[in-house]
Subunit: 101 residues, 6 copies
């Protein structure tokens, strides 16, 4: 899994993500301070999405892209502190490597 964070994302960057999010381009995302990005295999991404969802103050979306067939990009929208906390939690759970996230 690869993890990155974009602080104060530019308008065009959000557009690229919002156009490709799984819930459809029309569902709005509230104003975001930061976007966390997590790329990995589909099974990892679903688990990471669950960890992030259970964190506070973030919205999680799967992003369609050029990833190989069983890879996905996950975008985590929210204020900077919440996104950082969610990403930290994802890293921590991954390190533990338990089958039950």
């Amino acid at each position: 899994m690869e993890i990155r964070i974009i602080k104060s994302p530019a308008h065009g960057t959000l557009d690229i993500l919002l156009r490709r999010k799984g819930s459809g381009a029309s569902t709005p995302i509230e104003s975001v301070d930061a976007v966390g990005l997590v790329q990995g295999r589909m099974i990892e991404m679903v688990c990471a999405a669950d960890v992030a969802e259970k964190a506070v103050g973030v919205t999680v979306e799967d992003i369609r892209g050029n990833c190989p067939q069983n890879m996905v990009l996950l975008a985590i929208f929210g204020d900077t502190a919440s996104v950082e906390a969610a990403l930290e939690e994802i890293k921590r759970k991954e390190k533990e490597g338990t089958p039950e996230w």
Copy 2:
């Protein structure tokens, strides 16, 4: 094959799975306590789906990836004990490695 379990999945996590399930986003899944995830080659996942279906108390769905015609993940919905039992059975059959699951 990689196997994971998510207990008490978050609402957004279920959304990602339900949006991509093969039977269509409109077919409802009853309230789930746990989701088992199985990722592997198509031929393995079809066999794993059959093992899970023959277990008791779970609903099995194929989950699409980026392309609508893909199947990249098997999701097994149900109460925690049933999902764990189904995943155990899949692991056991895989270990046996017999051509007849």
Copy 3:
């Protein structure tokens, strides 16, 4: 080529296959006792389909899935003995390795 057989396939397993078969989800498959699965490259699958078709008592379908771009899954529906015979014949022809199946 990888070959497997599912005896008395569960209803949900058949659904996954029938939703993805090349002749369309609406073409019915008569009640099946067993499903043979063959996964490999497109060119092998077409040849394997021909071998199976020439066997007696089976219906052959190509299944869309998560296989890489030039891989396909072939499903062979029929009674257990016929499916086993068709799979045996596919293995035999593959071993011979002649360009003319």
Copy 4:
């Protein structure tokens, strides 16, 4: 490039090919004695198609894979001798390896 020939193809085998041919499933193919199959990279298959087209008595079709926009296989329909001659010519040109087929 991999090359195979199916003599007296079964009805279901032709169906798999005809459903996926580039000119559309509705364009008929006259009764065929044999089908030559060529699988390789896109650039190779376009060149092979041209060699086959310039041979006598065969019809050349591009066969799609899982994605509708893909071309994964070249199918050469015709009587057995013509298909064999076309495949021989493709092999010969490939061996020469000249940039001008």
Copy 5:
């Protein structure tokens, strides 16, 4: 990540890019002196898009590949100096390799 620049792009080259850009073929791009191209993994390209967007005087577009849902290339349109500056900034940030672009 691979990075290139096309100065005074030909009409047909722009057509290939504009036909595949994420915001749709109908959204116009103002007359461009240069196009910067960045190819890499989805997560890298989203971050590179953000760096370029925050640079001055360029328009950033995601370019689709063969499948409509793919994003394989980032195109940065603008005058030559601005595109060069944006590409320099992308290279610089990549070299730093910080998780926060």
Copy 6:
């Protein structure tokens, strides 16, 4: 990058290419003496398209095919001398390996 030329392409070969060209199957291509084919990664292809476009007397089209996700086929239509000149120029620029084609 792989480069080939087909002189006096057969009708069926042109059909395969025209059905898959980026500008749509309905845009006509004037009668062609030769087709140059260039296969490579998307970013290389856009640059090669620009080099070919700036050459005289050729029409450049991107062709959808079975190439992996970030690969494309470029077809260069025109009279034999012009296509050869365009391909020569593409090879020359590639050898130089400059970021500015």
